[in-house]
Symmetry: C2
Subunit: 304 residues, 2 copies
């Protein structure tokens, strides 16, 4: 199943001509999950390959305006486009009250179901084939980091070994691949005899706004992709600390410690028209670093 | 003094790739007034010639999402950019409650003054050199139409006549031009002896969302520019009526009856990627009709 990341808003604090405020979509098969929904996200979606009708769930990291003020317009536009399917909005404490407020702004009453869910660090939300987990990030207001983690896949099927054991190709192969034992000429063949070790699914971690956060290293460990706050360059480390943000270098240090595959720098301050200074700084620590930009797409490939 | 109209969002109901939702700015000298502030307006301003720090007053026509959901982000961005000057937000009934709600969305507390003003039909707000007036439009929720009307200018100065009356060029000319009488060789010369009839200032009328609205004809009479709801084409007149909107033809009929200078069609439905069908329909009734588009600028010139 294909797994894509779409960067919809990669700027921090307020929008600029170059970057909209925070939003990143993850598309797995035909299902889209949105992480954060800054003002203007519905229009960014229109400008992307995505359809906002595919979005079933939105995870908000925290309630600074640049991360959620696109929700009311998004919710209302879904309704004007005859949404019938429920929408689920997840976030840290305060989510129920805020969602209740924003879905009733002005002359609007939702005609489809909108469910607000308040998450606690350690919570895990199950979806078909993957889950979304959260922990506390290290920001100056309650803020969650999220990971999307696919279920473990069965180990690789050893066809040669199966044939040696007398299992004929066909239905019995399939049963073994799905973890069921089979009987061949009175002998039981168990899956562990023909399957390699279980293979981990893909993993994406999204820091949200955060200072360098010790618990994020373990949380992000082994991610294929880490999307991390990199608001400033190193020379502004003090300013980053003051506002609860990270520098590009600090983001790269987290990526290195967590042994992730690829790092994307995001929440880039409007002061940077060109983020190459941030990218370069991160690459010195962690070579597979990229400054995310609006409408950038990235396919997270299955490990062989 | 120069008077410009900047169309920032000319689409109706929800944004499209072509058009953002409602917002139009009027710049007079160095002062900018915003009429409506749909989601994403702050970014549209960034993409225009305007600076959002010049905006002192925002007039909201009504509280459908596409006309005001850009307010919270706009307000917060002003603060992040060290706004100190007060901001005034005017609108129909409900304005105080809604402004109170949106300026406290999420972790935000305003540090500059934000004043909400509820207007009633017939109200007139005075500014230096012009006023903004309002009446009820004909929409399906309380909705105001606005006009911006410059003060009457003194009549044209008849230099030849003044010299004939023995007034020497210089200080006394200036006094007469400013409406003061002067004495020359023991004879009193009054302004009416050397000034033509008072000349009207420029006038811009903004319908907001509305069905064809009888009282709007008188309200808009003689406007240099009328910016009018033209959500649909004539073949969708029934749909327009159902949702409290106008067709392009109906907008043109209002423009014709009100004897305005120029008509701009706005609040164009996202179904029209190309609004030329609307423009053509309006021009058949009122030749000086234009479909507004995002980032279009129009200078309202002084009548000679």
């Amino acid at each position: 199943m294909q797994l894509y990341i779409y960067f919809l808003g990669t700027g921090g604090s307020w929008p600029s001509v170059q970057r909209n405020v925070s939003a990143v979509a993850v598309k797995r098969g035909g299902e889209v999950i949105l992480f954060d929904c800054g003002e203007g996200t519905q229009r960014q979606i229109q400008r992307s390959q995505l359809s906002y009708m595919q979005i079933k769930s939105i995870f908000i990291t925290h309630y600074h305006g640049d991360h959620f003020l696109g929700l009311p317009g998004f919710i209302q536009t879904l309704q004007l486009n005859d949404r019938e399917e429920p929408l689920h909005i997840y976030g840290p404490k305060g989510t129920k009250r805020i969602v209740e407020t924003i879905i009733r702004l002005g002359y609007f009453r939702p005609s489809y179901e909108i469910h607000a869910h308040e998450l606690h660090p350690g919570d895990s939300i199950r979806f078909e084939g993957y889950c979304v987990r959260c922990i506390d990030a290290c920001h100056n207001v309650p803020s969650l980091a999220y990971s999307l983690e696919e279920d473990v896949r069965p180990g690789k099927f050893n066809k040669k070994r199966a044939l040696e054991l007398g299992v004929p190709e066909g239905r019995l192969f399939s049963q073994l691949q799905h973890g069921k034992e089979v009987e061949v000429n009175g002998t039981v063949v168990t899956p562990d005899m023909v399957l390699g070790p279980p293979r981990p699914g893909r993993k994406i971690t999204i820091s949200g706004d955060t200072k360098p956060c010790p618990q994020l290293v373990e949380f992000a460990r082994g991610s294929d992709v880490l999307i991390h706050d990199a608001t400033f360059e190193s020379s502004l480390e003090e300013k980053a600390r003051e506002y609860g943000h990270s520098t590009a270098r600090q983001a790269a240090e987290i990526a290195q410690k967590a042994e992730v595959g690829t790092l994307f720098l995001t929440h880039i301050s409007p002061r940077y028209r060109d983020a190459s200074v941030l990218e370069k700084e991160a690459q010195e620590i962690f070579p597979s670093s990229h400054a995310a930009s609006d409408f950038m797409e990235f396919e997270v490939k299955l490990k062989k």
